[in-house]
């Protein structure tokens, strides 16, 4: 099953290495990792999309992340009301006569054309994974020359409380 996990980590050198090393050596299956700064410059925020077999596998991912000294908080937000977005840049083959058509495809997705070449156009789309994938699918028939996706970054909707204010993950509920 696919789960979305977010973590806040100390913004120290090597922290990315610690996390990816951990995932590799424990054979955790990650689909994407994004990392970026937060409102606090000494803290970074990571979003992982992981593939686990079962609840026990998921528990292990969360517990092993929690064990890292540089990991401050970890939370599985898959079942929460969240805002999850990724950005994709897609370069498609586009002869001049196809550009209008492509542009009209982009509109309902609120994608935009960010670059135009002689034989191609580059589109930018943001949205949840489903939306991004649907859009990519639509463009496939034109021929995708290059594709770059950022992976999901996410947080909880609504309330101004941080998702991390609930108690730290514990296996005793």
């Amino acid at each position: 099953m696919k789960r979305t996990i977010i973590a806040t980590v100390n913004n120290t050198s090597g922290v990315m290495n610690r996390i990816t090393g951990l995932f590799a050596r424990r054979h955790f299956n990650i689909e994407s990792i994004t990392v970026g700064m937060t409102e606090n410059p000494s803290v970074s925020r990571m979003t992982f999309v992981v593939n686990v077999d079962n609840q026990r596998g998921l528990d292990q991912v969360i517990k092993q992340l929690n064990k890292q000294v540089d990991v401050l908080k970890v939370r599985d937000i898959t079942d929460d009301a969240i805002v999850a977005r990724e950005l994709a840049l897609i370069k498609v083959v586009a002869a001049p006569q196809h550009r209008g058509e492509i542009s009209s495809l982009a509109e309902p997705f609120r994608a935009s054309i960010v670059d135009v070449g002689r034989e191609s156009v580059t589109l930018q789309i943001t949205g949840d994974q489903q939306k991004v994938e649907a859009f990519i699918d639509l463009l496939k028939p034109y021929g995708i020359k290059e594709l770059a996706r950022t992976g999901i970054t996410a947080f909880k909707r609504g309330t101004n409380k941080s998702v991390f204010e609930s108690p730290k993950y514990s296996i005793i509920n």
Partner: protein
């Protein structure tokens, strides 16, 4: 703030709250952490620190290989419960301690290892003796640091000792670039550790403790499995109190030996691949399994599909990630074993009604004890361990290397007291046994320390005999010499149709002469009838000794759970 003076071995160290170099800070901080011995080896990048060691006179033991230093620090840590400290240079010095770090990591030994590093200005340029030590050791340390600014150093050292010795203990590495160790900064060690990402849960949840107590009341066939966590949390007394209160049969992992008295009537012996029939059958038939501080290693569980099939599993561990990792756990208890056991005693739940079960267990123990065929003509290694037990009155600190002799030592030496047993369990590191005995002797200068070693493993770190010679350290080396890689030979016999690929030694060194080269008194014993007398002499001898015991070459360790089998499928039980 007024400057403060710290003393080490009667000598004054630098005063605190003033400017000093990074290497001064390091030694000052080690003194403040009550480090009474450093094991190490110098080299270019760590020279400023060695200069400080020279000037302060802090005790440093020069190993003859960094692996010797790091295993000595492990032995010291295991026996003393304090952090073992090891200092080595950059590049090859640092990579030589990687095995020791991995060993300490998997066996949860508190260690602080300081590695020199090339100057920050050349890091990343493939400078002379540069290695990415932080990268290399990330997976085999509990945490590691590279110090970039001298001002960070006091905080980093304080955090390193804190992380190494609290929660689930483990090794922490500090990579110290040469320029940082000569730079000057203000030293203040009176700061609180502030690690929001590292907050081990010590006190267990009361409800979980109650649940566990209720499960015991309901159980008909309870078993308690004791791991090294009990030793790390110094909870032997609480464990004994609990077991006496609840009258639950106890079994131990390899590393947990000694946490519960081996000769106690409720002790079923060690469980696992070469454990007792009784312990393994008890695990197999138990309806409640209480794991205290063990991590369900595969050498303990055998095939997980057949592991404790009837049991409700309760698991007390300070590391939540161990709970449910290998075995589905119904009653998780996150916390310190000492606290948990104390709370369980306090709850004073109604014990299981399990007289029948205890009778069953006693019956197994009577019918299928550990065994071997006695022999007048060859020295049986099992008998050798028994003799060591008899001659030391069970009071020695015993260290072992890895292989058959390790299993025989675990089986036939009855550990009644904690912290007398030092062995490489999780990593199975050959070369560990001898240097760890040196560290153990530093932790317990007045106790007899006996290193029970295989002839092969001894040769991996034999150079450390130099330390014995130099300090007249009375470590007793007992070689269980079967002229082979015994455990490898056993597996080749059992699982590779006796194709003994590279496991038999056609020639061997003269071990007695080797010892004599280091001015260590040596004996060779071939006749089993001479063994006890020689052993007595060697153990009584005032100084280091080596006894080369020529044991039966084809002896196998039994009983055994073959790989892939379950606890109920033991082979080689007493006929």
């Amino acid at each position: 703030m007024s400057p403060k003076v710290t003393e080490v071995d009667g000598r004054e160290l630098k005063v605190e709250n003033q400017e000093m170099t990074g290497s001064s800070m390091l030694i000052q901080a080690l003194a403040r952490e009550n480090v009474d011995v450093i094991f190490g080896y110098p080299g270019g990048a760590i020279l400023p620190t060695y200069d400080e060691i020279y000037r302060t006179g802090i005790r440093h033991i020069l190993a003859r290989h960094e692996q010797g230093a790091v295993h000595a620090a492990e032995g010291y840590a295991r026996v003393s419960g304090k952090a073992g400290v090891c200092v080595v240079t950059s590049g090859p010095g640092a990579t030589n301690v990687v095995t020791g770090l991995a060993d300490a990591m998997i066996d949860s030994l508190p260690m602080v290892v300081i590695t020199g590093q090339v100057a920050t200005s050349v890091i990343g340029t493939d400078a002379f003796q540069e290695a990415d030590v932080v990268g290399v050791t990330m997976p085999v340390t509990k945490h590691n640091f590279q110090v970039r600014e001298v001002e960070e150093l006091p905080r980093v050292i304080k955090e390193a000792f804190h992380i190494a010795t609290t929660g689930r203990p483990g090794p922490v590495l500090i990579d110290l670039p040469k320029d940082v160790s000569v730079a000057s900064g203000f030293f203040n060690y009176d700061q609180d550790v502030d690690l929001p990402g590292y907050q081990p849960t010590v006190v267990p949840n009361k409800l979980q403790i109650k649940k566990l107590a209720e499960a015991v009341t309901k159980a008909k066939k309870p078993v308690l499995l004791v791991g090294a966590g009990v030793l790390h949390s110094k909870a032997s007394k609480e464990l004994l109190d609990y077991v006496e209160q609840q009258q639950i049969p106890v079994t131990s992992t390899l590393l947990g030996l000694g946490a519960f008295p081996g000769s106690h009537k409720l002790h079923l012996g060690m469980a696992g691949m070469h454990g007792t029939y009784t312990a393994n059958m008890a695990l197999h038939e138990a309806d409640l399994l209480i794991n205290v501080g063990a991590r369900f290693d595969d050498r303990l569980t055998g095939n997980l599909k057949h592991f404790a099939p009837e049991a409700v599993v309760a698991h007390i561990d300070i590391d939540p990630a161990e709970i449910g990792k290998n075995v589905e756990t119904a009653i998780p208890v996150v916390g310190d074993a000492k606290e948990a056991l104390r709370m369980l005693v306090e709850v004073d739940g109604r014990p299981s009604a399990c007289d029948e079960w205890k009778e069953q267990v006693q019956q197994w123990a009577a019918e299928y004890p550990l065994w071997y065929n006695e022999d007048d003509t060859t020295l049986k290694p099992q008998r050798l361990v028994e003799m060591i037990y008899e001659e030391t009155g069970g009071e020695a600190v015993v260290t072992t290397d890895v292989g058959q002799h390790q299993m025989w030592a675990a089986q036939f030496y009855k550990f009644d007291k904690p912290n007398r047993w030092v062995t490489s369990g999780g990593l199975g590191t050959m070369g560990f046994g001898f240097p760890s005995a040196i560290g153990a002797q530093f932790a317990e200068p007045d106790k007899q320390v006996v290193a029970v070693l295989g002839d092969a493993g001894f040769q991996m770190t034999a150079q450390e005999m130099s330390i014995l010679q130099e300090l007249n350290l009375p470590v007793k080396i007992i070689l269980v010499n079967n002229a082979s890689l015994g455990m490898v030979r056993q597996w080749q016999q059992l699982f590779y149709e006796e194709r003994y690929s590279n496991s038999l030694f056609p020639i061997q060194p003269d071990f007695v002469k080797m010892a004599e080269a280091y001015n260590i008194k040596g004996w060779k014993v071939e006749n089993p009838n001479d063994m006890q007398q020689t052993l007595k002499e060697a153990l009584d001898y005032n100084g280091p000794v080596l006894v080369d015991c020529r044991v039966a070459k084809e002896e196998n360790v039994y009983p055994m759970i073959a790989p892939g089998s379950g606890h109920h499928e033991m082979e080689g039980i007493k006929p």
